[in-house]
């Protein structure tokens, strides 16, 4: 069965500093990996995905994520945080080896960027 772990409930960072939101996954086959962001009273907004190819993927709003197969990780990063990046971030996985399209989500990490 597939699973996702986001080990930090909350990450605090000062505006202008780099940020990292951690994600590790477990699948039986190869993963499709996604990051979504949720602002208050809104749905999940797609940020970026890893399907295959380059381990460093770039997405919306200056975010990027690095796929590390040996560490089964897919950490979200941004070189310079903005106050407007403050939100709830979800990592999700789909196992290529499993039938179906369901996404399995992590518990989410609250990112707080302070000015």
């Amino acid at each position: 069965a597939q699973s996702v772990a986001q080990p930090e409930d909350q990450v605090n960072v000062a505006e202008g500093n780099p940020l990292t939101v951690k994600c590790t996954y477990s699948v039986s086959g190869n993963p499709y990996l996604f990051w979504y962001v949720q602002y208050p009273n809104r749905g999940l907004q797609f940020l970026l995905k890893y399907i295959t190819g380059d381990n460093l993927v770039k997405g919306s709003y200056g975010f990027e994520a690095e796929f590390n197969k040996s560490q089964t990780s897919f950490h979200l990063k941004k070189p310079s945080a903005l106050v407007s990046d403050s939100a709830l971030y979800f990592c999700a996985v789909r196992d290529k080896a499993e039938y179906g399209n369901k996404l399995v989500f992590g518990a989410g990490t609250i990112l707080r960027v302070k000015s």
Partner: protein
């Protein structure tokens, strides 16, 4: 940019009553999904729908739940006899293809409160 729209934004229902949550997926998308998020918990997969039939469902999606695409635009989730534990945020999502390659796009959700 096209969006997934959900109505109503908030539904309050007495326990034991039937409730229908409505979604309009993005028009050229072929795969449709329902997820739910109980307050403070993970986003959980409920069901996926493709080609006018359920393609996958989770253990949560028992006989009290059903989905329908009554016309070319709407996608509904019905709960026949609501329980207190059905209180959650329900998200509809759609994707043009299998979510491994194309990301799922989420609506803003319907907050379901069972009294």
């Amino acid at each position: 940019e096209p969006e997934v729209t959900q109505t109503p934004s908030h539904q309050v229902t007495q326990m034991g009553q039937e409730v229908i949550l409505r979604c309009v997926p993005i028009s050229n998308h072929l795969y449709f999904y329902w997820y739910r998020q109980i307050l403070g918990q993970k986003v959980e997969f409920l069901v996926s729908f493709y080609n006018n039939e359920i393609s996958e469902k989770s253990e949560i999606f028992d006989d009290q739940f059903s989905v329908e695409r009554p016309d070319g635009s709407n996608f509904t989730l019905k709960i026949r006899s609501t329980k207190l534990e059905d209180s959650a945020m329900y998200f509809c999502a759609s994707s043009p293809g299998q979510s491994g390659v194309k990301p799922q796009h989420f609506g803003d959700g319907t907050r379901l409160s069972i009294l």
